[in-house]
Amino acid sequence: MMSLLLFAQEIEPLTNTEQWVINTFFYVIALVTVVAALKMVTTNNVVHAALYLLIVLAAVAAVYIILGAEFAAATQVLVYIGAILVLLLFGVMLTRAKIGSEDDLNYDQRWIGGLVSVVLFAVMGYSLWEGFEDTKLDPAFQPQRTGDVAESIFTQYIVPFEAVSVLLLAALIGAVVVARRD
C-alpha cells in the first residue's frame, strides 16, 4: 500500500503580507505596468511594442503574486510570456518587422481613440471610486493554494474547464486550417 505522504514542512508563500512592503512593491509595479503599457501603444516599432508587452505581462504576474494568486502568476508567465508573446514575436518577425521606427503604424485620427479611452476611464474611474472608495483587502488574507485551485477547477468549474478545453482544441485546428498553405 502506498504510504500516506506526510509533508515535512509548510510551504512559504511568495506573498509578503507586511503592508508597507507590499504597497511599495505594488506602486512600483503599477508604475512600471502603466508606463510600459503606454509605451506599448505609442511606440513606433512593432518589436519594441511586443517587448513592452512583455514588461506589462511580467508586471501583471507580479500583481497576481501580490494578490496571492501564485498559480495564476505562474500560468501568466508560462502562457502569456512563454507562448503568447513568443507567438506574437514570431508573427512580427515572420511579417518582416523593420528595425528602427515605422511611421505607418497608427491612424491619423488618434484623438478619437484617445477621447474614447479617456471617457471610458473617466466613467470607470468614477464608478470604481463610488463603488469601492475605501474598501480594503483583508490584511490577513491567505494566498490561494494551488491544490485548492485545482480542486475547484475540477469540481465546481469543471464545465467551463471542459468548455475551455474544447475551445482550445477548436482554436488549434482553426489556426492550422487558417494558416495552412495549400
Binding site: V77, G82, F90, M93, T146
Partner: protein, 356 residues
C-alpha cells in the same frame, strides 16, 4: 555549524531583507559555481579526452585556471554593436536569457531548509520561467540585424516551443505520482514512498517514471539547443545562430546562460527523478538520523552537485557523440514521438496512481 542551521533562531532573527540578500548571493553562487565546474570538467576536459587530445593545459595546473583566462579574455574584448542593430534590444537580450536561468535556479531545493524560495507551484514555476529565455533569444536574433541571427533566433524559438511541451508533459507524470507541484514535497514524496513495500532507497522516480525521465532528458537537451538539437546555432549553417553578432561580455553572458541553464535543468532533473538533495533512506538509517535531519542542509547541496554532475555528464556525452538532426526531423521528433509518448506516460501514471 550544524546547530547554526538547526536552530530556527538563526533564521528568525534575520530581517527579511537580509534574508533576501543572503539568498540572492547564494543563488548567484549556485548558478555560477556549477556552471564553471561543468564547463571546465566536461567542455574543456572530457571532450578533449573523448577526442584524444589534452585540452587546455597552460593556465594553472592542468589548465584549471583556463576559466579565469576565458573570463578575462571576454571581458577585455570590444563590446561590438552591429551598425544596423537595434541597440537597446540587442543589449538587453542576454540579460533576459540570464534572468530566465536565475529565476529557474531559485526554486531548486538544496536541503530540508536550504531553499531560496519554497514555492507552492515549484515545478510549474520552473517550467514557466524556463520559457522566458525564448524571448531573449528572439530578441537577440532580431536585434542583430543579421540574416543568420534572425534565422537562428526563429529556429531556436520554434524548437524551444516544440520541446517545451514534452518537457512539461514528462514532468506531469512525476507531479501525478507525487501529488504535488512543490519541489520540496516531490523530494519528500520520493523519499517517503516505497516501491511495493521496499523502502530502502525510497522511490526515486527514475525507476517508476523511467519513460518520463528519458523524455525529460531529451527535451532538456533540445531546450539547451545542444547536439543533436543544435540546428539554431549550427556553425556550419548559421555560424552561431542568434549569438553570431555578440562579443565580449554579452557573449559571455549567453555563454554562462547556456551552461548554467544546463546545470539548473540537471538540478531539476535530480530533484524530480533522482530523489533531490536526499540520500537514500538506508544511508541515513546507517547514520541513525532522520532522512531530513538538519545536517542535510549541509550535505544536501553536495548530494545535489553529485547528481547534477551525473546528469550533466549525460548531456555532454550525448552532445559530443551524436550527429545533428535536420530541422524537419527535429520538429517531427518532438510532435510525433515525444509528445505522444509523454501523453501515454501520463495516462499510464494516472491509471497506476488510481489503481494502487
Amino acid at each position: 555549524m550544524t546547530e547554526l542551521f538547526a536552530t530556527d533562531y538563526f533564521w528568525e532573527t534575520w530581517p527579511w531583507w537580509a534574508d533576501t540578500i543572503f539568498r540572492l548571493i547564494f543563488a548567484i553562487v549556485a548558478v555560477l559555481l556549477p556552471a564553471g565546474a561543468t564547463v571546465y570538467l566536461y567542455l574543456f576536459k572530457m571532450v578533449s579526452f573523448m577526442q584524444s587530445r589534452l585540452g587546455p593545459m597552460e593556465a594553472g595546473p592542468y589548465g584549471s585556471m583556463q576559466l579565469v583566462a576565458e573570463l578575462g579574455k571576454n571581458l577585455q574584448k570590444e563590446d561590438i554593436f552591429p551598425a544596423r542593430a537595434d541597440r537597446t534590444v540587442f543589449a538587453l537580450a542576454p540579460y533576459v536569457v540570464l534572468a530566465s536561468t536565475f529565476l529557474l535556479a531559485v526554486v531548486v531545493p538544496f536541503g530540508p531548509e536550504a531553499t531560496f524560495v519554497n514555492l507552492d507551484t515549484g515545478v510549474y514555476f520552473a517550467l514557466a520561467v524556463s520559457s522566458v529565455s525564448v524571448v531573449g533569444i528572439l530578441m537577440a536574433g532580431w536585434a542583430s540585424a543579421s540574416k543568420y541571427s534572425l534565422l537562428g533566433g526563429l529556429r531556436a524559438a520554434g524548437q524551444l516551443i516544440a520541446y517545451e511541451l514534452p518537457l512539461i508533459l514528462a514532468v506531469v507524470g512525476v507531479v501525478i505520482q507525487a501529488g504535488t507541484l512543490n519541489l520540496q514535497n516531490i523530494v519528500t514524496a520520493q523519499n517517503q514512498q516505497e516501491i511495493f513495500g521496499w523502502g530502502a532507497i525510497g522511490n526515486p522516480y527514475i525507476i517508476t517514471q523511467l519513460l518520463g525521465f528519458i523524455i525529460f532528458l531529451i527535451a532538456v537537451q533540445a531546450e539547451l539547443t545542444q547536439v543533436p538539437f543544435d540546428m539554431p546555432i549550427a556553425e556550419s549553417e548559421l555560424v552561431s545562430g542568434y549569438m553570431t553578432e555578440y562579443s565580449g561580455f554579452r557573449f559571455l553572458m549567453f555563454f554562462i546562460g547556456e551552461f548554467a541553464t544546463a546545470n539548473i535543468f540537471a538540478f531539476l532533473g535530480a530533484t524530480l527523478f533522482l530523489g533531490g538533495w536526499a540520500v537514500p533512506p538506508f544511508v541515513t538509517d546507517l547514520f541513525n538520523i532522520a532522512w531530513d535531519s538538519p545536517i542535510m542542509n549541509l550535505v544536501g547541496p553536495f548530494v545535489m552537485l553529485t547528481k547534477m554532475l551525473l546528469l550533466t555528464f549525460i548531456f555532454y556525452w550525448v552532445r559530443f557523440t551524436f550527429p545533428r538532426f535536420r530541422e524537419d526531423q527535429l520538429q517531427k521528433f518532438a510532435w510525433k514521438v515525444l509528445i505522444p509518448l509523454s501523453l501515454i506516460n501520463i495516462a499510464l501514471t494516472a491509471v497506476f496512481k488510481v489503481a494502487f
